[in-house]
């Protein structure tokens, strides 16, 4: 199969699924489920094929001019395929989860249609070959996520959707202004052509710094950098699979991925360091990490606590970008994957507690470990990973961030890491304590807020399997970090081949 065709097929899988789902009638449950799962598997297969091809030195490119001097480019490079792999894998689990979660609820056709569109845009973002293409899919992502956030249609959901649009649409506009300015300055820059900006006349440098920060503001809204994070905790009113999508797979990651592309593939890490941009990024990331953790500590409900934890954890990626040197880069890129695995686990589990037992507040979790042992085990793995306890992958991220900080000669970053780890422990360990060590309704103390009918397993298999699977992946990715094609090994390879400063 030719290179262009396989890219088109990968992107087309999700787009085609979206169109087909919109065409199918609402009651065609089986056809829709089959289509969803089939497409997710086909896409995973195609991405795996491209990973394999890429590791053997093959190139996949699709490009055509849109205007004079502006092209639409889709291209696989090892960084993009990494993000594509993550989103395809997690899409499979999220789809399975969403099928179980939305069982018997109205408007499933609308939900799954936009769901597929959302994943198609994420894939487009990961395969985009220049800023213009990335921006197209970035905007598509904003628009296709809105119906998912407001899916429930309640007043709270609509308000959250409004906040979401308020933040993301102006951000898209800011991003476009930055892109146009960059285009006017240096023409169409394909990702990987860092030399174009590096060779600009020194007189243009102040302008470059300005454009950089404009673009960071544009990406920073989706990446939930403080003070642009306000939409994220509000958006947690969305159904659990959407939260997993927002926090782990698509939206937040798209912002972080955009920053990665901006620093490594447009400006180039040397130029960014020369211009002093990286120090700014580290400062912003450190503030975000600490602020997010502090705010998470103050939350009394499970999902907002997880949401603020995302604010904090995604900034680890930005922190890693800011640490000049290979270890920091490895930390940034691998945390992109690691955080996705752990956070989707946590949101799946939070959804399971809400669906099965009606639990929303943290103090209602007492003794839930006995009623739902596998879910609680998965939650514990995710939470311990977030704290940074080995062998869960979160430890590896922290390890590379810490050693990277020393390498970049910024030892004070370790203090930030340490404070954040302690805060993580302070807001996750009490939850684990409640799950496992407090007597609850299953021990004959009190009763669950709203327990669903008993099933053979602790909850529906559709809900249980994705949570356990992502937990296992986060565990295996840590234990087997030295294996070929593990997230860490792949990012190390990416960094060694492409981004050695």
């Amino acid at each position: 199969m030719s290179g262009a065709l396989i890219i088109l097929a990968t992107l087309g899988t999700s787009l085609f699924t979206a169109v087909m789902i919109f065409l199918l009638p609402e009651r065609a449950f089986r056809a829709r489920t089959g289509l969803n799962l089939g497409a997710a598997l086909v896409k995973l297969g195609l991405v795996a094929w491209m990973v394999w091809g890429l590791s053997r030195g093959r190139e996949y490119t699709l490009a055509f001019p849109v205007l004079e001097g502006l092209a639409f480019v889709l291209r696989t490079d090892s960084l993009g395929i990494m993000f594509a792999g993550l989103s395809s894998l997690l899409w499979l689990f999220t789809t399975v989860y969403a099928i179980g979660y939305l069982e018997d609820s109205p408007n499933r056709k609308r939900f799954f249609g936009f769901f597929s569109l959302c994943v198609a845009s994420t894939l487009g973002i990961s395969l985009a070959g220049n800023l213009f293409t990335l921006l197209v899919f970035y905007e598509l992502l904003t628009l296709s996520t809105y119906p998912l956030v407001v899916h429930r249609g309640t007043a709270k959901a609509l308000a959250a959707g409004k906040v979401y649009l308020r933040f993301t649409l102006p951000a898209g506009l800011v991003l476009m202004i930055g892109m146009v300015a960059l285009h006017a300055l240096a023409g169409d820059i394909r990702f990987g052509q860092q030399e174009i900006l590096a060779e600009l006349a020194p007189g243009r440098r102040p302008l470059l710094v300005g454009i950089f920060w404009v673009l960071i503001v544009g990406f920073g809204v989706k990446a939930a950098l403080v003070p642009l994070h306000g939409w994220l905790p509000r958006a947690m009113v969305a159904p659990a699979p959407v939260s997993a999508l927002l926090h782990a797979v698509a939206v937040v990651k798209a912002g972080a991925f955009g920053i990665v592309r901006l620093v490594y593939d447009i400006y180039g890490v040397e130029l960014s360091a020369e211009l002093g941009l990286l120090h700014g990024l580290v400062a912003v990331a450190s503030v975000t990490i600490l602020y997010g953790s502090l705010r998470a500590l103050a939350q009394q409900e499970l999902k907002p606590r997880l949401a603020y934890s995302t604010v904090s954890q995604v900034s680890y990626i930005v922190l890693g970008i800011g640490l000049f040197g290979p270890l920091g880069t490895i930390a940034a890129l691998s945390h992109l994957l690691h955080q996705g695995l752990m956070k989707s686990t946590l949101f799946f589990c939070a959804g399971n507690y809400a669906e099965e037992l009606g639990i929303h507040r943290i103090d209602e979790l007492d003794g839930a470990g006995r009623r739902m042992p596998l879910t609680s085990l998965a939650f514990s793995v995710g939470a311990l990973g977030m704290i940074g306890v080995p062998p869960v992958v979160g430890f590896l991220s922290k390890w590379y961030l810490g050693t990277g900080a020393i390498q970049a000669d910024m030892p004070w970053v370790i203090v930030v890491l340490l404070a954040s780890s302690l805060l993580n422990a302070a807001y996750f360990l009490p939850i684990l304590g409640r799950l496992w060590f407090r007597p609850g309704p299953d021990h004959g103390v009190g009763e669950w807020p709203a327990e669903r009918r008993p099933v053979r397993l602790e909850t529906l298999a559709w809900l249980l399997v994705p949570a356990v699977a992502t937990a296992l992946f986060s565990l295996m990715a840590g234990v087997l970090a030295g294996m070929p094609f593990s997230p860490l090994e792949w990012t190390t390879r990416v960094v060694n081949t492409e981004y050695l400063p």
Binding site: R295, G402, V415, L422, A425, L480, A481, G482
Partner: protein, 604 residues
Amino acid sequence: MSDALFALALPTALLWPLVLMLRVSLTVARTERGQPRALLDGLWCTAPLPALALALGSDEGALALDWWLLGGRWMLDGTRGPLLAFTALLWLLAGGYARGYLAGEQARAVAGDGAAEVRLTRFALLWPLTLSGNLLLLVAEDIASFYLGFAVMTFAAYGLVVHAETRDARTGGRAYLVMAVLGEGLILAGLLWGAGSAGTTMLDGLREGMLEAPGGAWMGLLLWLGFGVKAGVVGLHFWLPLAHPVAPTPASAVLSGVMIKAGLVGWLSTLPLGEPTAGETFVWLGRAMLVAGLAAAIGAALYGVCQRHPKVVLAYSSVSQMGMATALVAMGLVAPTLWPTLSAAVVLFAAHHGLTKGALFLGVGIGKHPPRLPTWLLWTLLALPALSLTGALASGLAAKWAVKAVLYDGGYPTMVTGLSLAAVGTTALMARTLWCQWQGKGQAREEGLEPLMSPMPLAWLATLLAALTLPWWLGGELMVRGWPPLDELSGLLWPLALGLVGAVTAWSVARRRPLRLTWRLPPGDLWWPLVRSGQRLRTRAQGSLDRLGSAQGAWVAWWVARERDAIRALDGMTRGEGWLRRHAAVLMMGLAVGLALLNVFAPA
């Protein structure tokens, strides 16, 4: 042992406890709730057996696993072997003891007590998990495995501490966890800093890197304090007397006997001990450790004798003994040339204290549930490990001589005097422990005697035997100095005599005029003022967190208000446009008239 066999035996030793844990969870999942099930059976007790066989059967060996975490390297050598041997042995015997100790709980669980069933299941699951963490940290040579073992052991042991679910157990568990998290944080910071500057993932690389790195002594300080939380360094020790006594007795035994040694193992593996090239800053770190160690050794003894519960007294004795160990480790930095001989003495001391303290803790349970033995024999057996801990006989005497001879030869008589003073304190603590146990014995006799051939007395006797005969079965290369000559005995035994005289005097005084002191010195000393100031801080922090939230709210509200202003301005424009539309004709007319007038009256 051949390499292939070692490569098989080491993973088996580490995985076997996990396999047994999995078996427990499968048993629980398979049987219906409320049905009788024996979780703590004979097979469950064998969890540390492969590790013990490995430690006794193999002297040296290494295993490299490239795919594991950041690159795994596990090995066994002259230091790790003895540590692994006594650790696995104490876990094995305490596991056997637990079968008897928790038999009552098992009976209640079978009778349908749900809470007992939950507690028992938790114990059966977390015991092997804690064990596997402990074993891993002993054999790990790569930093990631070591930290993994340490973290697994620390967090899993929380479940053992809070086992009883009483109020005291919760307090103990909370103190344990808070301090453990703090310790893990300090350790992680030290490891990241050290490994980052040296660019290594191995412990030996870390030690070498610290010598050359600027600020190496600060890394050492972080690691010393981080592991010091586990080892009960003075100032960070207060969780021990809160957590060790509330755990079930077999768990107390392993907590105080072997898990506390994980801190010591951490020091041995990460600090550049015995390196003559270490700079002056390391010597200063060593001096700080020395002072802290001796302060803990003597201070804990003074505070401990005022306690009423035998397990609390024993916990303070652990702080005191670990203070001595801290002082000995500090000598590795202060006097690096002594270290090659001293390190063997430290390992011997650790093994001696581990098994003896295990026997003492298990003995507390025996005092409460005495077996069918004559009273004089029982109390002699209970007193034997206490005497050994003071250094009067068996392993205690061997360890004491090993330490003292090295220090004398090295020219550190002050240090020996300090340790001897601590030994006086140990004697007082042991006397106090036995006295507290004696006072509780009357009640125990009324509850009936245990048969001698049941798990608890057998495990206790075996631990006692293992502890007393330690120099013969483990000594080997550790006993560099052999046994003390007869004329040295007086120099070794005076602390015991002094301690005994002091204890008898104090007892006779206290009998006539009971002291009220014990009420004002609660176990956990520093914890209570810290909790109070923590609460005050928390109220204040809660306030600032709330302010942070409201500041964010105000910020958002400001933006929303600006948006409303903008919309109002837009609405104003719409209104203005309407007004213009309505009055367009008049305005145009006015404009035309105005222009015309301007034309007419304009100066030509």
